[in-house]
């Protein structure tokens, strides 16, 4: 007896994506849920140090912080460990 098992097929969302109306608003996920990008104020900040560079992004709804990202680049993060052999 041969058992035929149907394989799940991938769902194609391209039609829905392509049918997006020009009036659809781009949204951003925030602590207040999805909010139109246009409603948010966007700020960036760079923090530099000898050991790292940090790029911060912040989105505000009026004056309330509702989303933030930080990206830390440790370009010289930890001092090297020095190994020394004592002379006789």
């Amino acid at each position: 007896m041969i058992e035929i098992v149907s394989q799940p097929t991938a769902v194609d969302f391209s039609a829905q994506i392509n049918s997006a109306l020009p009036t659809d608003l781009p949204m951003l996920f925030t602590s207040k849920g999805n909010i139109p990008c246009d409603a948010l104020r966007y700020e960036t900040e760079w923090v530099t140090d000898q050991r790292y560079i940090i790029f911060c992004e912040r989105w505000f709804l009026v004056d309330e912080l509702v989303k933030s990202n930080s990206h830390v680049y440790g370009h010289n993060p930890i001092d090297g460990i020095q190994s020394v052999q004592q002379s006789f």
């Binding site: 830390v72 370009h75 930890i78």
Partner: protein, 153 residues
């Protein structure tokens, strides 16, 4: 050609590869590289190179988004390398957490997750960060003898 004194460059590499044990060591279960993790800690914590010996949940940031206690495995695709007498090792991938909300953290601890005691490797601090429903990324330095994450000079 004269003789010259100094710690052998090969020895420094072998230290990072776990070849030598001048003191009591552990029985290793395999000859493969260990797995290392990176975990985030609050600015109110007290981690330091002199006092931190192993991973502990004390002062770790709470679970949020893709962040779970213990942190994230670091990609280790490049073995320790020696250039001009300095042996260095750097994770070959970045650490990143998404959908993450964390308040006032400033430290990443890299530790050995294969070791039963979760032995610490290094403490890396940066300015205090607060992330709201966002992404936190720690981009690793260039893996060379002057900027690598772990360097024996």
């Amino acid at each position: 050609m004269a003789n010259s004194a100094g710690l052998c460059y090969s020895f420094k590499t072998e230290l990072l590869d776990g070849i030598h044990a001048f003191g009591a060591s552990v029985v290793r279960a395999a000859t493969t590289a260990d797995t290392f993790y990176g975990a985030l800690f609050l600015a109110s914590g007290s981690l330091s190179p002199s006092t931190t010996t192993a991973y502990s949940v004390t002062s770790e940031v709470p679970n949020s988004g893709t962040y779970a206690a213990g942190g994230q495995a670091v990609t280790n695709a490049t073995a320790p390398t020696q250039t001009a007498g300095t042996v260095y090792w750097t994770p070959s991938g970045n650490l990143s957490w998404t959908g993450f909300t964390g308040t006032a953290f400033d430290t990443v601890l890299i530790y050995n997750n294969t070791a039963a005691s979760k032995n610490a490797v290094g403490v890396f601090t940066f300015s205090t960060q607060t992330i709201t429903a966002g992404t936190f990324t720690l981009t690793m330095p260039t893996n060379n003898n002057t900027t690598g994450l772990v360097r024996l000079t």
